[in-house]
């Protein structure tokens, strides 16, 4: 027996000596990223990783102020009616496989991925090339085409990749090139020495797909990775004592909202929707469920989108008395069980939630009890998110808790035109059908004058603020951990580029 314990002790000692972990950091000049987003197929329209790590680039990009500037396109001009756009492709750029970037390749990319990328939302009729220009023709005026072409899923890959169906490699034009993609859960990248723009100072990147939030947090805490994205809100407390990482909270233009069927009585009345909005305690939801009181929405767009955030709007407030008053003047009276009745109909609605974002059903339950206070009976139905999309399509949805980003197309008009225009979209309004609003969207899409655009934005936001086609509940935070070893990192609210080529090791 003695021998056994001795052997165990020796083995233990040997293991702990040989087990010193390979610490990430300047030693091997590698940035490691723990990401909740899967890598997926190596095509730009399927993998956020390619754009975010700087492997592929798009024709245009948004600045932090939301202005659209050129990336692979040097410049562009529309015709007078905004139905034909000419993008001049940057010269002297080459793909990672050595082939040059040409207008022909760009046109072939846009054509091939048209249906899979944000381009499908634009009324495109033809994409062609002439010399060093890509010519996009549309069937109606469309001023936001440059913004659509900044979406990460419109990235450009080399001509060889377009015809190669195996998809085990990809050549873009960005500051990093893929060196190893044999592991479906990891991308190994190295700096592109021939990059046309700001060359990376850190030579290698490892992008790791780590679906479990706790694992990402532990990896950041142990110093195994330089970046960990989408951490639980509790990470701020858990990592507070760790001296090697900073936890940053960044508001991103994504909302959690109560979607309402505007074609269904009594939700078709503005006053009723306003009453629902007054009945919801956003501060309470934001602090106790989301974990950050600052995420309580005061209007549709958060302050991180200054062009769309209208500081002159009166913030949403929690005022059950006002809600009761609005409902009373709409003709409702309280029944014996405390539920409102009008013309013999009880005010009851079914609310659907889905759990791929785990906080949504919890928010649903909170709203259920808040609405009960003012006399609206809510029954819950939970499933996956297709209960929303299918319910929207077949018209059976009454209410639902949803979440969506506004800036996949870096101009929120993209999301507005998909989610609020006409009868609405899965992640926005439903049967709202406001002609005045639709006219504003159409005007916006054919306007180029910045002042007029600003006025149109104000009008659209005000209209949604007043009429509540969808009741905005909270905004969104991304909680991420950044190692103290790196400097120069700024989080991209458009979720399209980590800016890894700007990073340097901290002194």
């Amino acid at each position: 027996m003695k021998h056994f314990f001795l052997a165990a002790a020796v083995t233990g000692a040997v293991i702990s000596l040989t087990a010193a972990p390979g610490h990430a950091g300047p030693a091997d000049d590698t940035i490691r990223i723990a990401s909740p987003w899967k890598i997926g197929a190596l095509i730009p329209s399927a993998s956020t990783a390619l754009s975010r790590t700087g492997v592929v680039e798009t024709l245009t990009m948004p600045t932090t102020d939301g202005e659209i500037v050129g990336l692979l396109a040097e410049s562009w001009i529309p015709n007078d009616t905004l139905t034909e756009w000419r993008f001049k492709i940057r010269s002297g750029v080459s793909f990672h496989d050595g082939s040059p970037l040409t207008a022909e390749t760009v046109a072939a990319n846009l054509t091939k991925f048209q249906e899979q990328s944000s381009l499908r939302t634009a009324p495109v009729t033809n994409i062609a090339f002439e010399g060093d220009e890509v010519v996009v023709k549309l069937d109606r005026p469309y001023s936001i085409l440059p913004a659509v072409l900044a979406d990460w899923n419109t990235g450009i890959v080399s001509a060889a990749n377009l015809t190669d169906e195996t998809g085990d490699s990809v050549a873009g034009t960005g500051p990093f090139s893929v060196t190893d993609a044999s592991d479906p859960t990891m991308l190994k990248l190295s700096a592109n020495d021939d990059y046309w723009g700001k060359k990376a100072t850190i030579s290698k990147v490892e992008y790791l797909f780590v679906p479990d939030a706790q694992a990402r947090q532990a990896m950041a805490q142990a110093g195994e990775v330089e970046f960990a994205f989408s951490l639980p809100v509790t990470a701020t407390k858990m990592l507070a004592s760790a001296d090697s990482v900073q936890v940053q909270i960044q508001a991103i233009p994504r909302v959690r909202a109560l979607k309402l069927n505007g074609g269904l009585a009594p939700l078709d009345e503005v006053a009723v929707r306003q009453a629902i909005s007054y009945a919801i305690d956003r501060k309470g939801i934001a602090s106790s469920i989301v974990g950050n009181p600052d995420t309580a929405a005061s209007q549709l767009f958060p302050a991180s989108l200054p062009a769309w955030h209208d500081t002159s709007l009166e913030p949403f407030s929690h005022d059950p008395a006002k809600a009761a008053e609005l409902l009373a003047s709409a003709g409702f009276t309280k029944g014996d069980d405390g539920i409102l009745i009008r013309d013999g109909d009880r005010f009851e609605i079914e609310m659907r939630t889905y759990d791929s974002r785990p906080e949504l059903p919890v928010i649903g339950v909170a709203i259920q009890s808040m609405l009960k206070e003012v006399g609206i009976e809510v029954t819950m139905k939970q499933g996956d998110w297709t209960v929303i999309s299918d319910g929207h399509t077949d018209g059976t949805l009454e209410a639902g808790i949803v979440s969506d980003s506004f800036v996949y197309v870096p101009d929120p008009i993209g999301a507005l035109s998909e989610n609020f225009y006409k009868s609405g979209g899965f992640w926005g309004s439903m049967n709202w059908n406001n002609d005045e609003f639709d006219a504003l969207v159409e005007t916006y899409q054919r306007t180029v004058d910045p002042e007029k655009l600003a006025q149109l934005r104000t009008d659209m936001v005000a209209m949604i603020h007043e009429e509540h086609p969808m009741v905005t509940v909270t905004w969104y935070d991304d909680v991420h951990a950044v190692s103290n070893n790196v400097s120069n990192f700024t989080f991209d609210v458009y979720e399209r580029d980590f800016g890894l080529n700007r990073l340097t090791w901290a002194e």
Partner: protein
């Protein structure tokens, strides 16, 4: 029973169970009320919230708009040829992914099993040898505790202790002892608890057999007696218990790999299910079932080799 007959029977069993499980997983997915094309669109085009247009693109390109029986026949024909198709999410060959992840799982499961047995057998033997002593009580309480705590909880504690606090292990990569030892230890702990109890009982039983008592009274030294006559008899219940251990291993593969972010079959399965990557999911389920069946067959063969009769 001859070896050939035993092998033939096992092969038939494996084939039947595999096909049954595979068909179940096919129908389970395709009979779900959810819109599969939409789900896959979301998985494949990660990052965007999907819409109907995308779903239609997906539906056509994967043939999901064909009648379900046609899809089933197609799939069955492919499966019999060990062709599981390509992953809907990555576009890679499913067999390639299974090989990649299977290799990782085998690495930890193999060492975890060895370590678990190495931990359980001496513990059980010591308990039996000193049955009723303080040592026995302490070890009994310890193994009872280990086997009642769910292994994901053990795994979480291990991560917090060895990765976060002590920095003695890592959560990225798939090789190297710095990566593997905590995983191996966790798997070993999770199977050793119950296994050591089985060993203890088996050894006690054998020691109380009349032939053992008789020899003891005749003055044969206990250690010699046990190795010569006791071991073979004590091994029998332990070997019979192995299929249960393998079941625990499968469970561990799924749960522990997820907590440790270890890219093996279980981890891949969880993510394939989340993404509704049907071909990959079915391939992985088959791989796990096959793994289990092969392990139990091996233990049956071992039993047959030792006892030469009543192998099944």
């Amino acid at each position: 029973m001859t070896l050939a007959a035993l092998l033939a029977r096992k092969a038939l069993l494996i084939l039947t169970i595999t096909l049954l499980v595979a068909s179940c997983s096919f129908w389970a997915v395709h009979l779900l009320p959810e819109n599969i094309a939409m789900q896959i669109a979301a998985a494949r085009f990660s990052g965007t919230e999907p819409n109907q247009q995308l779903a239609e693109v997906v539906s056509q390109s994967y043939g999901l708009d064909r009648p379900i029986l046609v899809q089933y026949a197609d799939w069955l024909a492919g499966t019999l040829k060990l062709d599981f198709g390509v992953s809907l999410v990555t576009g890679r060959d499913v067999v390639q992914d299974i090989a990649h992840h299977g290799q990782n799982s085998l690495r930890t499961v193999f060492w975890g099993f060895i370590a678990g047995v190495a931990l359980a057998v001496p513990t059980g033997y010591v308990c039996a040898r000193f049955a009723g002593s303080h040592l026995d009580t302490v070890l009994t309480v310890f193994s009872a505790a280990i086997s009642t705590i769910p292994s994901f909880l053990v795994a979480i504690v291990m991560v917090q202790l060895f990765v976060v606090e002590l920095g003695l292990a890592t959560l990225s990569g798939t090789s190297g002892w710095a990566r593997l030892w905590v995983l191996v230890l966790t798997i070993a702990l999770s199977i050793s608890g119950l296994l050591s109890r089985v060993v203890r009982t088996a050894v006690i039983d054998v020691r109380l057999q009349p032939f053992m008592l008789h020899a003891l009274i005749r003055g044969v030294p206990e250690r010699e007696l046990f190795w010569r006559h006791g071991l073979k008899n004590a091994l029998r219940p332990v070997l019979n218990y192995l299929p249960v251990v393998f079941m625990f291993l499968i469970y561990d593969v799924i749960v522990i790999e997820t907590v440790f972010n270890y890219h093996g079959l279980g981890w891949a399965l969880i993510n394939a299910v989340k993404a509704l990557d049907v071909p990959l999911m079915q391939g992985l389920v088959l791989a796990l079932v096959l793994f289990y069946l092969c392990c139990t067959t091996l233990s049956d063969l071992l039993t047959w080799r030792i006892y030469r009769h009543k192998a099944s």
